[in-house]
């Protein structure tokens, strides 16, 4: 049975039909990259999966739970789904360590000393063991994003959603963040990535989902999808992305 089952999801923003019947199953341990032009609905889909946005029809199931955007469900969702944002959204008044400790302490009710150990472990995992007491303002973008990943991992989620997490980074900082994702993928973490890093999507992902005009236009095994796109839209999209295939 898949970990996440998305079934005929329709979403409207007023008159604007953003998701037009999305069907997608994601298995435990799978790494799925969602690509597509801006406005194709890929970020919206991600935000529906973790309950930040509601949808009007269809269903999104995770384990036995149907995900909605009801606030009362947010706590339950947070135990299964971690989220990393394009803009990091770290808490600027807390150190890296405090950022990571907050949710385990206040949501899971783990003792402070254990939370500290857990947070140190997570920050070590993303290579920031020497930056525990730094405030976000004193960290580089890449380091901040890695703290954000550690913060999400500290809740021990079943799946990690990443919403264009390298788009706000200077080019030389992208690598260190992607390296962390590669490591997580290798450890068997289920990842759903919305990304513009095509080479990365091709190399890390088991599967690539191409979204266009609110629909899943084409999907398939990563290398094959890029090598042999079936639809004109995907061919056009691949052609319009610079740098693809340069390695």
């Amino acid at each position: 049975m898949p970990l996440i089952t998305i079934n005929r999801v329709q979403k409207y923003y007023g008159q604007n039909h953003v998701l037009k019947g999305i069907d997608l199953d994601i298995d435990q341990g799978e790494v799925v990259s969602i690509i597509g032009r801006s406005g194709s609905g890929k970020s919206t889909l991600l935000r529906c999966i973790n309950g930040l946005e509601g949808y009007q029809e269809g269903s999104i199931k995770l384990g036995g739970m149907t995900v909605t955007n009801r606030e009362s469900q947010a706590r339950e969702i947070s135990r299964s789904i971690g989220m990393v944002f394009q803009s990091f959204n770290l808490f600027p008044h807390m150190t890296a360590l405090q950022n990571v400790m907050l949710a385990p302490r206040r949501v899971l009710g783990i003792k402070a000393a254990e939370c500290r150990e857990l947070a140190e472990l997570m920050l070590n995992k993303v290579g920031l063991g020497d930056r525990l007491d730094y405030y976000p303002a004193n960290l580089s973008g890449g380091q901040q994003q890695r703290v954000a990943i550690a913060r999400a991992l500290a809740m021990d989620p079943k799946v990690l959603l990443c919403d264009e997490i390298t788009s706000a980074l200077d080019p030389e900082l992208v690598g260190e963040v992607l390296k962390v994702l590669e490591k997580l993928a290798a450890e068997g973490m289920t990842l759903i990535l919305v990304t513009h890093e095509m080479n990365f999507a091709r190399d890390i992902g088991d599967r690539i989902v191409f979204m266009h005009q609110g629909k899943i236009w084409e999907q398939g095994e990563s290398h094959q999808l890029f090598a042999q796109p079936q639809t004109a839209e995907l061919k056009q999209f691949i052609a319009s992305v610079r740098g693809l295939g340069d390695n």
Binding site: L52, A74, M83, F85, F91, H93, R106, L108, A152
Partner: protein, 218 residues
């Protein structure tokens, strides 16, 4: 007829200034305490609660404080509720203060990036936890300078309480003028009294503004 020396004038004004300070303090603390539930209602997702609070702050911001004092003093009396000038003044100023503070405080929270709410939600933090541990510590830095600045308005606003017969600095000045016939000297001293109370606060507010502005841009 007794004569008033300059010292008598100053002494009486100082005694009355205690009431100005006390009324300001009562209004400010009362207003601050009242603002907390108002703020929670305005931040809630219920539209009618939000609109209600907006109407409340528009009402008190859009009418003269003097009318609010009259309504609290004479208006309540019409319903057979006997209020002392002190109580009426403290009540009206508390409502007046909260109507402005709710704007300042909610505005400070609204000024923070929406991503802070989203990140908190994705981590499973509830509304109260997010407000207390994530939003408030950041919002306080934004809110503190305008809040202290607004306290100056409250102190000056207490002068109007003299009109409903509450004996504070301004009322004492008027009474002393009636017996000394030296309005320029007396009201000059009254003005000086307000200045001595307000100036340090304004100065402090500017200091805070600079301090927090500087640390925001590191």
């Amino acid at each position: 007829m007794t004569t008033f020396t300059d010292w008598d004038i100053v002494r009486n004004l100082l005694l009355a200034a205690r009431w100005t300070l006390l009324l300001s303090l009562a209004a400010f603390i009362g207003g601050g305490v009242l603002t907390i539930p108002l703020m929670l209602m305005r931040l809630s997702r219920r539209r009618w609660l939000k609109l209600g609070i907006r109407a409340y702050s528009n009402l008190f911001q859009g009418t003269p404080l003097l009318m609010q004092l009259f309504l609290a003093f004479f208006g309540l009396a019409l319903f057979g509720i006997d209020v002392s000038p002190w109580l009426a003044a403290a009540l009206a100023l508390t409502l007046f203060t909260s109507a402005f503070l709710v704007d300042i405080w909610c505005g400070s929270i609204d000024a923070l990036p929406k991503g802070q709410w989203e990140a908190s939600r994705c981590l499973g933090l509830g509304f109260g936890q997010t407000l207390l541990r994530v939003m408030a510590p950041q919002a306080i830095r934004i809110a503190i300078a305008p809040t202290v600045g607004f306290s100056v308005q409250v102190i000056k606003g207490t002068a109007l309480a003299s009109i409903i017969g509450f004996i504070e600095l301004t009322k004492a000045g008027a009474m002393l003028t009636n017996v000394t016939f030296q309005p320029f000297k007396v009201f000059g001293l009254v003005a000086l009294g307000y200045f001595l109370m307000c100036y340090p606060l304004s100065h402090f507010s500017h200091y805070l503004e600079k301090k927090f502005h500087a640390t925001d841009n590191h």
